[in-house]
């Protein structure tokens, strides 16, 4: 069984400490919900998990192996969804998705249709993406999750700009993913109501400005 673990992680944005000594444990089929006030490092933690941001201290490990030793394997098993939708306005919805399918090594001919249908945007397939609304672009971005064989989903505020019906579709998508042994880490303000999710409050690891300044003077 897969296991994704982080031990005593520190995060720095340029020289400013964001959080310190953070631990998490994500088993196969597990869900980690990141909460905390703005600026507590939810997005930073997800970028750290994805490998976009190297941790300033601590280790990330996959089945006991440090992730940093095999970044290629880590990239192959994760799907990341950030704040930006990565949708090219000049391409149609289907072409946008077909590109990501090819990159993931999936066959666009068979993967794109079902992925679009999973988020109820199948009827928009041949529409240039510049005509899509913010919520539809978000859905197109979410549709990427249905393409590949990524085990680890890292979702940064996935429910932004989504209507109630799509949020429940997303919840189903996540449940099905977890039932198949997949794992998901999600930061959210709105309640996504994932069952058996572990809540990780980043507020408790936040390095307060006052403490950071005090440590700086001490050092």
């Amino acid at each position: 069984m897969d296991q994704f673990k982080g031990a005593s992680l520190d995060c720095l944005r340029s020289t400013r400490p964001v959080f310190r000594g953070l631990d998490f444990d994500l088993p196969a089929g597990g869900a980690l919900v990141l909460t905390g006030p703005n600026g507590s490092g939810k997005s930073s933690l997800l970028r750290l998990m994805a490998g976009l941001l190297p941790p300033a201290g601590g280790t990330l490990s996959w089945n006991g192996e440090p992730v940093a030793e095999d970044p290629d394997a880590h990239r192959a098993r994760l799907a990341y969804l950030g704040h930006l939708d990565a949708v090219k306005p000049a391409l149609t919805a289907a072409e946008n998705l077909a590109f990501w399918a090819q990159l993931e090594g999936a066959d666009p001919a068979t993967a794109v249709g079902p992925a679009l249908d999973a988020l109820a945007i199948g009827h928009l397939a041949d529409l240039p993406a510049r005509f899509l609304s913010a919520g539809q672009k978000r859905r197109l971005n979410l549709a990427r999750l249905g393409l590949g064989k990524a085990v680890l989903w890292l979702l940064d505020e996935p429910a932004t700009a989504l209507d109630v019906e799509t949020i429940s579709r997303l919840r189903d998508l996540i449940h099905r993913h977890r039932d198949g042994g997949g794992m998901v880490a999600v930061s959210t303000h709105s309640d996504l109501e994932l069952k058996d999710a572990v809540n990780l409050d980043l507020g408790q690891y936040t390095v307060s400005a006052a403490r950071a300044a005090a440590e700086e003077t001490a050092a």
Binding site: R47, A50, G51, L52, L53, P54, D72, R75, A76, L78, Y80, G82, H83, L84, D85, A86, V87, K88, A90, L91, E95, F99, W100, Q102, L103, E104, G105, R144
Partner: protein, 221 residues
Amino acid sequence: MTGFRAILERDLRLALRQGMDSVMVVMFFVIAVVLFPLGVGPEPNTLARIAPGVLWVAALLSVLLSLERLFHNDFEDGSLELMALSPPSLEVVVLAKVLAHWLVTGLPLIIAAPVLAILMNMPADGFALLILALLLGTPALSLIGAVGAALVLGSRRGGVLLALLILPLFIPVLIFGVGAVEAAIGGFPARAPLLLLGAIFAATLALCPWGAAAGLRQALE
């Protein structure tokens, strides 16, 4: 390899739909060269004398003009970070994007160059060498430029910074590019400058994807 092809096809398709990049670069190239007869005067011998240098400098600046957008759009809309997280390594991503960039901007320059050479009254002996030298030189320019474009990504006034950063690195290509054409016009063997251009191309092909990928990783942190 499928990742390489996917990025190449997508970038070419985007360039085809949006269309402006090639046209703008070629137009800039044409206008920059046309300025010289107007500024220096229409004396045919003078123009013929400076033709190889003018064509190369104008080509260099045209490539520079288009480089800023090499990674910029993908960076702005979040595509770049997703590509960085996709199975193909970032070096492959860079190489595919540079090849697409060269096909869209470098190749049209090479096609336009002989026409402008006629305008500049360049002796016909130099034409074949001009095209050959541009074929070897412009991909090297795109590769060197990719490193610069990756480094200035996300900074304001990236365009000016990019010019300051990479124009000095373009100098060897300029020297040997002009050298090859002038040797051919003067009736000397152009083998040495061509080989050196080829060596520069080979070196940039081997080194620049790594440099650009490192720059992109920095920008994506």
